[in-house]
Symmetry: C3
Subunit: 297 residues, 3 copies
């Protein structure tokens, strides 16, 4: 039996121990861990994966790209794909800072309560902190499932830029930028988005409140609120990190740890998926599909 070898290519100087342990628990037998990986130094590392095993054994080698800087990891992910040629390739997973698995888990959690992806239903979503790495992915995944997504950021220009990027990935997406965070006196546009939203996901930086109690009271239609921030204070005031489908008025709420179990399952399943063929290339959409399949399994 050919050992399952995972290259852990991390853009940080110290490669993530989190990603390594998840990989071990998902069945990777040998980890080849590299920190400080960039598009400029990644090619020989990829060649080592491509040229050491042949035929069916190629599916026993795979590559994980991670790191705390999502944009840097995306650049490595691109470079790795361009290094492959024809059938000489190995499976590949992008999950920097857990952004893809976390965003997928949030959308899976929302889908338990909302008819995402059903063309007969309509869903309006508001993504707070929507221009950040996790926020952009949540917005992208929701847009891909047919929701109308309002992307909120502290500045309108960043919200607009995020919408443009997401639209490139999801040409059919319905996206609206809006400025601000829902604390103190939310601006008019944001107040309208709050009032209209079926789903609110807060994706801010650790410890930043993006939706306070007064703003929460404006969200009269909201049926699901998800706060992906695990570090106090909460991103959504009143949501605890451990909340998992807790009822709150007419809504259910999730905290970061309440979504975390699903995130871990998706992360592990994605690593297992790598070793089932030599041509998987898993980004956010693929992890969402994996997460949805785990729900129905």
């Amino acid at each position: 039996m050919t050992a399952k070898v995972l290259l852990q290519l991390d853009c940080d100087h110290q490669p993530s121990t989190f990603d390594a342990i998840v990989a071990v628990d998902a069945g990777a037998e040998t980890l080849l861990r590299h920190g400080g990986v960039t598009p400029d130094n990644v090619v020989p590392l990829v060649h080592g994966a491509m040229f050491t095993r042949g035929g069916a054994d190629l599916s026993s080698t795979a590559i994980f790209v991670g790191g705390s800087d999502v944009a840097a990891a995306e650049a490595v992910f691109e470079r790795v794909q361009r290094t492959f040629f024809g059938p000489v390739r190995v499976s590949l997973l992008l999950d920097p800072a857990g952004a893809n698995s976390t965003a997928s888990a949030a959308v899976v959690a929302a889908g338990r309560h909302l008819a995402l992806g059903d063309p007969r239903a309509s869903c309006r979503a508001l993504v707070l902190g929507g221009s950040g790495p996790v926020g952009q992915r949540v917005a992208r995944l929701l847009a891909g499932r047919g929701a109308t997504v309002t992307v909120a950021s502290r500045t309108l220009s960043r919200a607009e830029e995020a919408c443009r990027r997401i639209a490139t990935a999801v040409p059919t997406g319905r996206l609206e930028p809006v400025e601000g965070v829902a604390t103190g006196t939310a601006g008019t546009a944001l107040a309208a988005a709050l009032a209209a939203a079926d789903l609110i996901v807060a994706c801010g930086a650790a410890g930043a409140t993006l939706l306070d109690a007064p703003a929460r009271s404006l969200a009269r239609r909201a049926r699901v609120l998800i706060d992906l921030n695990a570090v106090p204070p909460a991103g959504i005031e009143g949501v605890a990190a451990t909340d998992k489908a807790r009822a709150w008025d007419d809504a259910v709420v999730y905290g970061a740890l309440g979504v975390g179990g699903t995130k871990m399952k998706i992360h592990r399943a994605a690593v297992r998926r790598l070793f089932q063929s030599n041509d998987a290339c898993l980004d956010a959409e693929d992890l969402l599909a994996i997460g949805e399949s785990l729900e129905t399994a």
Copy 2:
């Protein structure tokens, strides 16, 4: 079965291969090795250990802190402990440059011939090179076992500083600083300490003689002499690195390799201990206790 994962956090740029191989031989199944670890970059590495496994599986992840700079490793060891909270922790072992396992092995060896820890007996110990990393630990462990310990260093101020530090760790310890090395004409205070010592342990830097033959002749009461220096010339003139309880006049003598077998057993047993719970935190005293339990097993 959850694989036993050991984070090897090393303060040196190149993590120790010695510590890695001992860990493998002690049953660690996956090593996550990191060099250049400091208090400033260790927190995310620890988070990866804390947040990837839950419940009983937390005891299958553990952390080893090492490196050739003992003070730097101690600072990392402190920082790791402060990163844990409540039950969200993993077991932890500090053994930089083998200082803890070596010091423990020396005290275990001495305890074969002296009634250490017996309140009815009294033991006077002289630790040469007592302000160095291993010397301080030997002195600390002996003080904790009730011996009256004279800590010798090349300068009195370093000996005094070492005694102060050890007294913080062992408030009941009886400690006396003394200046000098026991070569040529030992000073009066050191000559008195030599004459009074039941046990002499030389913990100097590689290749430095701390006790020469004339000074040795002053140690009339000594029943055990231990030289922890493995690189010629010997730290105690006349002791061979391979000596293991060799009779010499009325004393027995141990060299570095003669203590080395016990050191290795303690080191391996300590790594095994890590995986028996998620809350072990093993410093010198814990390794001594492990070493003593191995003697009676």
Copy 3:
């Protein structure tokens, strides 16, 4: 059972994934991978291999020295050997950038068609790019098997320097330096070497043509042509990387991939050999012997 531990000591900042995967596939159970290894920092890494296991278990630890800079790896290889003393040593393999296994595979391939090593036969070989790391090894191995070897380099001084070095390793070797590459109008000396060669091996840098079609037509006696360059354009015009003993006029030709299978077998067998004793020290000649034994197995 003591786990097979391989230290992968690599002179590059990022240790090779290629060498790591081959080692895993050859049965190494734990890899301790180090990048940026130099003669100045390698000693403690080697000590860790020497001093952790004793007796028969020493043969379960081994060292692989690699990296893209062959000269740098050779310096580390030397330093490792000088760190060992007496029986306190572990097995050691040098294969930087695959130079040793590749050169051995080329000579093994040539030996299928030419009576190398038979004192009654005579063989004239021409090594193009003969002053490079692979070229020097090919020339050295052929000289050791009794061939008369012409070493071609772009400048005569480099060809002469290579011949001097090879003569140190193979005092009985018959070596002749020659200037130039066999493209356009090859110089007189090179044209003569082409006309006389039974075997031509092209060992140039990736993408450099060393023997073009007109020059090829001068090689009337050549029975084997081997091009070790895998990146287009071919080192020998008309040879495909996948050629493996393909008939071409009166000769057979091999490309880099056609030799690659043999290279991989030699590489893996060499790693396996490391764990059969604690005193193997494998350089090019040893890998050639391994390769020849695999042919007859």
